[in-house]
């Protein structure tokens, strides 16, 4: 068949041209020069596939589903040719005791070498009883696995910052990995779900250079989260000229005008969505007439809602006046934010810090 290129000899290696193309795209996404491509290829195609242990906690499996939809590398190539996915509850054949054995085999055999991916928030309230796997809480499993890993990649907004279950009033005391794991490098790939390209670029960077890519203050890799959505949006010119959709389905909406007034949170959100888009079909939410909801920002379920009200504090050009934080919507948004900060502080009391092997990522600011 056409999409899995097995090569003329029917061997295991993927079609080399397609593979190098994937690595070249990854290098471009990472902001690396073309001279780095051979190194990426070498790292990604080494004989021993790097082991990956993927933990699921309070989550919806949307991040795994996003990975299933990736095209470069595609999921088959990723898990059969590039990495060795030694534990992943959604795809692994084994269950129960056999699954537990796979986990323990991997973290002991590859101690200090495997990549730990975490999907989902970690409930800390009441001893963490709100999420259990094989009779152990998510907190206990993270405490056992994370310190043995080479690095932790928190995929999605839940593993990064607690996510939807951490929204006010955070009934289960959910937090992100970075709130619990100290001493092992942690990188955040937020988004709900994140674009799989951001995750895969980070993995390939780590496999190539044996360290995580540079991040911003929120632990997000700069290659993917370094710029504001608003500054990259194809509708930005409409904003600058004061052309807005005032309501879904109105004339401005049909003309593809700026969505700020129907709630777009692009001016307050850092991500590469407008540049790399989703699912390889040139689509992203703004391309189907819906504003950005700010899903790569910490606490967006509280700070960016109501989703269909204007983001406060944004100056509108084009003679339509200036919307500021004094609007009624703005009050509501700011009020919830204050409440969310309070809750987050309260959650901290129940937290345990998971100690590690004492190393830190000097790449992280």
């Amino acid at each position: 068949m056409s999409h899995h290129d097995f090569g003329k000899e029917g061997n295991v290696k993927v079609n080399r041209r397609t593979f190098i193309k994937g690595c070249t795209m990854a290098a471009a996404a990472l902001g690396l020069s073309e001279t780095m491509v051979p190194k990426l290829v070498e790292a990604a195609a080494s004989d021993q596939r790097p082991p990956v242990v993927w933990l699921h906690f309070q989550e919806c499996t949307g991040c795994t589903e996003a990975l299933l939809r990736a095209s470069h590398p595609d999921i088959g190539r990723l898990i059969l040719d590039i990495i060795s996915l030694d534990y992943h509850e959604t795809v692994m054949a084994a269950a129960g005791h056999q699954a537990e054995k796979s986990l323990h085999d991997a973290i002991n055999k590859y101690q200090g070498k495997f990549i730990c991916v975490v999907e989902g928030g970690i409930p800390t309230k009441d001893g963490g009883i709100y999420c259990k796997i094989g009779g152990k809480t998510a907190m206990d499993i993270l405490a056992e696995v994370a310190p043995k890993s080479a690095a932790v990649i928190a995929i999605g907004s839940c593993a990064s910052y607690g996510g939807i279950q951490a929204a006010d009033p955070n009934p289960t005391g959910a937090v992100g990995v970075q709130d619990l794991v100290k001493g092992t490098p942690v990188i955040n790939i937020p988004g709900c779900p994140p674009n799989p390209i951001c995750f895969l670029g980070t993995v390939l960077h780590f496999l190539t250079f044996k360290r995580l890519p540079r991040t911003d203050q929120l632990g997000r890799p700069l290659f993917a989260y370094g710029r504001r959505i608003h500054d990259q949006c194809e509708r930005r010119a409409h904003f600058d000229e004061g052309r807005f959709a005032e309501q879904f389905g109105d004339k401005g909406h049909l003309e593809g005008y700026c969505l700020y007034k129907v709630g777009c949170k692009g001016p307050g959100t850092f991500s590469n969505c407008p540049a790399v888009r989703f699912n390889d079909v040139g689509a992203w939410p703004v391309s189907v007439g819906h504003g950005c909801i700010g899903c790569t920002e910490p606490g967006f379920w509280d700070t960016m809602t109501p989703f269909y009200e204007r983001l406060p504090g944004v100056n509108i050009p084009g003679g339509d006046g200036i919307a500021t934080g004094a609007s009624s919507a703005g009050k509501k948004i700011l009020g919830v934010t204050a409440a969310a900060v309070g809750i987050h502080a309260a959650v901290g009391i129940g937290k345990r810090i998971i100690g590690g092997k004492g190393s830190t990522s000097d790449e992280q600011e």
Binding site: V12, E59, T61, R69, D74, I164, A174, Y308
Partner: protein, 566 residues
Amino acid sequence: MAQRIVVDPITRIEGHLRIDAEIDNGFISKAWSSGQMWRGIEVILKGRDPRDAWLFTQRICGVCTTVHALASVRCVENALGLEIPINAQYIRNMVQAIHALHDHIVHFYVLSALDWVDVVSALSADINKTVQLAESISNWPNNSANRFKAVQAKVQAIVDSGQLGPFANAYWGHPAMALPPEANLMAVSHYLEALDYQRKADQALAIISGKNPHAQNMSVGGVTAAINLDNENTLNMERLYWVKQLVEEVKGFINQVYLVDVIAIAALYKDWLPYGAGVTNYLAVPDMVLDTKAETFDLPGGTIMGGDLGTLKSFTSFNDPYFKDNVVECISRSWYDGDWTRPPYQEETVPHYTDFQDDAKYSWIKAPRFQGEPMQVGPLAQVMVGYAQGHEMTKKYVDYALSQISTIAGVQVGPGALHSTIGRHGARAIRSAMMADLALKHWQLLVDNIGKGDLEIFNKPTFPKGEIQGFGFHEAPRGALSHWIVIKDGVIKNYQCVVPSTWNAGPRDDKDKAGPYESSLVGNPIADPDQPLEVLRTIHSFDPCIACAVHMLDPDGKELIKVNAL
């Protein structure tokens, strides 16, 4: 003497599920299904803008990534009495149908095929015999000798590398694995192809919904995907034709590979046809809406009790009181405080964790009931209801599948065989074929309507002072889903989701009636209690989604937590 086994985690599902079973003389005599995670999303919704609810509830599940969005906007629209434009109905219908194609393909190949297919056995397959087998049941062009040879080499290389990854510690060589090596090789080849075709379905979905998972084109009052044939930032014919082409490609895979593979597995595992019926009360809701008021549908809904098609009672609209007045949830055996059975609007739930207690509380999942009875939901329920109604499309595919199974198995297999573990897989494949046809039908309806000059996609919602309530249902890939909302002065007062996997995975109720997972396991054979592959077969046949199944609300915002016996 009965032997107790615990399978935790159940893998290749969404979420965290534990299954306990007692085994007596090689067969399961009693079983418990327990959801192991709680997030409290309905608590979080309280006090928020009802227009935002769909974006929150969508995050209940990234596998069922469109379904809570659809049910949510419908429940708010129901509360407001708000009709939506016909273009919005068609676009929502395409989202529903195309998502189902993705979901069902992934479920069969990625999440359940390895219960029936022995990957390692594929290494000893004869290539020519594999080609003969494949060509005898399908004209799929990729079933070639070179293709099968390459797949076999790939499996060999993975085994040789010693890094089995997701295939480690599994059930290869298990005595319940019965396919010949050639069937296993064909299935492994299709497993790899399925990874490509599920992606095509997603791409079609992303074009109309911005991204996938977690589509972002819905709105209370319609959809946000503006239609303008003369603009590059909207749905235009370039975008729409891309959707059509991708759906046609996926339809080819479903009709020539997926449906055929399920038929072959059903026939080759005919000894398994008597197992796994469990609860044979079925519930499906009507969907694929054909008008702005939601009174006509392309997919029928209704109830069947006790496996008797003659008991069919239909649901006729989004407002049908036969649905609204008969759904309740019971928490007798669930980790919530108290012991009651209530309609969703009136639920008031406080977590009360007790650890696993066989004869008391043992799950975060509640037990939904219809007229007091447990109901099975999902593709099988939908196919049963459609078959009982004489729904033409359902009948066509069911009769085709049964006649093919009968031919390959060499015995007459009738509709009664559908009440089974394998029947659930068969119904899901049949539903996929139907949804591919319907996706293309609704694409054409949309294009025809646009051709008339109608570009409307949205009716603005206005929230009144005072209290209103509404419910919205949707026939999701895992079955009948309903959302129930109470809105006071324009903000959410109560929100409750009654979810397919709650219907199926729920625990016992106050009358000790077991839920569908639990009932379906009873009587299943277990060849080796240390390797309970048969448990996975029956549980996977429901396509469990446990993040969906576990949810709660607390309308009074009082102290939520009581923890007993950690």
